[in-house]
């Protein structure tokens, strides 16, 4: 069993390595790069929320901090934004520690609210601290490569590293502690698991990878501004969606969700590649919202989590299980 899943993972990786060599269109390569970036963000969010049970509405903080670390390397230090790939992760981790210090004393809705509010503070700081962040003007750098290939392989490497590390973590002692905290924090505490320490560890890993994704975004897109990288809807909520559509609390869920979400978004943004009337692309944000509602209502455990149920629906058998296990 263990060998089989490793084989599947390696096979997938091989497919992804071959893909850009076969598909030469920059457009599709771009979509895959963005989707791979979302694999990283979705999986990181999933580690904290799906496995440790701490639903963050503030992952834009880490993405933004990572992106700005890279951007500021160029604007203030005058060195290449690629140094941000080294700096972005640790900086995001620091902001994660700060977030945890404030928020982990809170539970449930209070925690959600606090992460959301602190994310807003970061966004406002990025907007108004003009001397440091250039404010609404944003940061523009010259990207290093014209070809998409180097970015593609970098994104693929990041995604593979992220998914691999998280699956390793979830098989270690840490992983069991995380799940114990998600299932019942009091019981976990009673067994001697320091919930604050392990929630912080989970948050640190999660923020580190999200920061890396942010730094990658800066290098790839060449332009960031606070409304993009600290956006509540298009980063924090999107991270939640990616994990939820795919299946929170599963290793492969966020990866599947990232591709589903990015492809769907692109379908709407381009009015189904020009086949649908023009107003469809005006409504792409509306479709995004409707998708949130439908996903939560009918697919609470995502494509991966509800896979048996979806399979049953497709083969028209009576459903055997209602929703995946757990409570």
């Amino acid at each position: 069993m263990k060998k089989r899943s490793t084989l599947i993972a390696l096979g997938l990786l091989a497919l992804f390595v071959v893909f850009p060599l076969v598909e030469r269109s920059d457009y599709y390569r771009h979509i895959f790069i963005i989707a791979l970036m979302w694999v990283v963000i979705g999986s990181s969010w999933n580690l904290l929320a799906g496995y440790t049970g701490q639903i963050s509405f503030g992952h834009a903080i880490f993405f933004g901090v990572g992106a700005y670390s890279a951007g500021i390397c160029t604007t203030k230090l005058g060195i290449s934004a690629w140094w941000g790939m080294l700096l972005g992760g640790p900086m995001a981790m620091l902001s994660g520690l700060f977030l945890g210090w404030i928020c982990f004393r809170l539970r449930g809705s209070y925690f959600n609210l606090a992460t959301l509010a602190i994310a807003e503070v970061f966004r406002l700081v990025a907007i108004y601290w003009r001397n440091f962040t250039e404010g609404m003007q944003g940061i523009l750098i010259i990207t290093s490569f014209r070809s998409k290939l180097p970015y593609y392989f970098l994104a693929l490497g990041l995604a593979a590293l992220c998914v691999f590390s998280i699956s390793r973590i979830m098989k270690s002692k840490w992983g069991f502690y995380f799940i114990a905290i998600r299932e019942d924090q009091e019981a976990a505490e009673a067994l001697g698991i320091s919930s604050f320490r392990y929630k912080s560890l989970s948050l640190m890993v999660s923020s580190f990878f999200t920061g890396l994704a942010g730094a990658f975004y800066m290098n790839y897109m060449g332009f960031i501004d606070p409304e993009v990288v600290f956006s509540l809807y298009f980063i924090s909520i999107m991270a939640i969606l990616v994990a939820m559509i795919g299946g929170a609390g599963t290793i492969w869920g966020p990866a599947v969700g990232a591709f589903v979400m990015v492809l769907l978004q692109e379908l709407f943004r381009s009015s189904f590649f020009g086949y649908a009337p023009k107003w469809v692309s005006d409504a792409h944000a509306l479709a995004f919202g409707l998708l949130v509602i439908l996903a939560i209502r009918y697919m609470a455990n995502g494509v991966v989590g509800d896979f048996p149920r979806i399979l049953n629906l497709l083969t028209r058998k009576k459903p055997m299980v209602s929703g995946a296990g757990g409570n």
């Binding site: 929320a49 799906g50 049970g53 639903i55 404030i102 928020c103 004393r105 809170l106 449930g108 809705s109 209070y110 959600n112 609210l113 606090a114 959301l116 509010a117 602190i118 807003e120 503070v121 406002l124 700081v125 108004y128 509540l232 809807y233 909520i237 939640i240 939820m244 929170a248 609390g249 005006d282 409504a283 944000a285 509306l286 995004f288 919202g289 409707l290 998708l291 949130v292 509602i293 939560i296 209502r297 609470a300 455990n301 989590g305 209602s322 929703g323 995946a324 757990g326 409570n327």
Partner: protein
């Protein structure tokens, strides 16, 4: 000194309306134990209803108080009944899916309005929109004063409802202990729908009162969602009296921030207060009074 008093007056006036909007969220928080992240967006929908009535029928915004809040009450009841309530029966790994649902609802409301009315700024220019009068050296803005007075009136009405009527008592009972309330024969499902509807109606009333003063655009809701949860946390989650003080404190703090720090950082002042309250006074203002 005059400037200080003027700032204070402006803050308290706007704070009254904030309190009204925040009260709606606090009610929902009390009964359903969730934060309603569609709150400001519901308010925005009410503002557009008022705007349409004014633009096409020439109806004064204050008369819309009789139309927009009831309309939003119905919308709120429908949202609770068909979208939020069914989630309680779904088994999911993520426990806070009701909150996520409100996020989705908020997005759909904003985008639907944007789809219909586009992103342009609209405003309702009434004869009294910019009229002011002076008492001593302090100038009073007429629509602000009207908004404050009506907000106080509506708040008083809500308190009468919660304290004196049977249905109101059922709402409070459900907020205190849902299971016990159900054992006492209270239809908790209906009370929850009623509460969400009421919360939406309060936000709608607040929005309608703000319309003669504010510009209107589809994204106006977001900041008000943030404001109302700052108020809810400031007052102590689920405490209605706390929410009133929370609203006033937020109004005054924003006003002081706008005058003495920077107009642009007005919104950040609220966030900073929010984080400070979470760190130093997690129970909100409620804990200071022990009521």
């Amino acid at each position: 000194m005059e400037m200080f008093i003027q700032t204070l007056v402006a803050g308290i006036l706007i704070g009254g309306v904030y309190a009204l909007i925040g009260l709606g969220m606090t009610l929902i928080m009390g009964v359903m134990r969730i934060i309603n992240l569609a709150h400001g967006q519901l308010m925005m929908v009410a503002m557009y209803i008022t705007f349409v009535l004014y633009e096409f029928l020439g109806l004064d915004p204050y008369y819309s108080l009789l139309i927009a809040p009831p309309a939003l009450f119905l919308l709120g009841v429908a949202i609770e009944k068909y979208l939020l309530d069914p989630l309680l029966k779904i088994d999911s790994i993520i426990p806070q899916n009701q909150i996520l649902m409100t996020v989705g609802i908020g997005m759909v409301l904003t985008e639907t309005i944007r789809f219909i009315f586009h992103s342009d700024y609209k405003s309702v220019k009434t004869s009294y929109s910019s009229s002011t009068f002076m008492i001593g050296p302090i100038s009073w803005n007429v629509p602000m004063l009207m908004a404050f007075a009506l907000a106080v009136l509506i708040t008083a009405g809500l308190f009468f409802f919660l304290l004196k009527t049977d249905t109101g008592k059922s709402v409070r009972a459900t907020a205190q202990n849902k299971d016990a309330a159900m054992i006492m024969g209270i239809n908790a499902e209906w009370i929850t729908q009623l509460t969400y509807g009421l919360g939406a109606a309060m936000a709608a009333a607040g929005g309608t009162l703000l319309l003669p003063i504010y510009y209107l655009f589809p994204d106006v809701g977001g900041p008000f969602t943030l404001k109302s949860f700052i108020i809810t946390v400031l007052g102590g989650m689920g405490s209605t009296v706390g929410a009133i003080f929370g609203g006033l404190v937020l109004g005054v703090a924003e006003s002081l921030g706008a005058t003495y720090i920077s107009m642009a950082l007005k919104d950040a002042v609220g966030m900073v207060i929010f984080v400070l309250v979470l760190v130093f006074l997690p129970g909100g203002l409620k804990t200071l009074t022990r009521v």
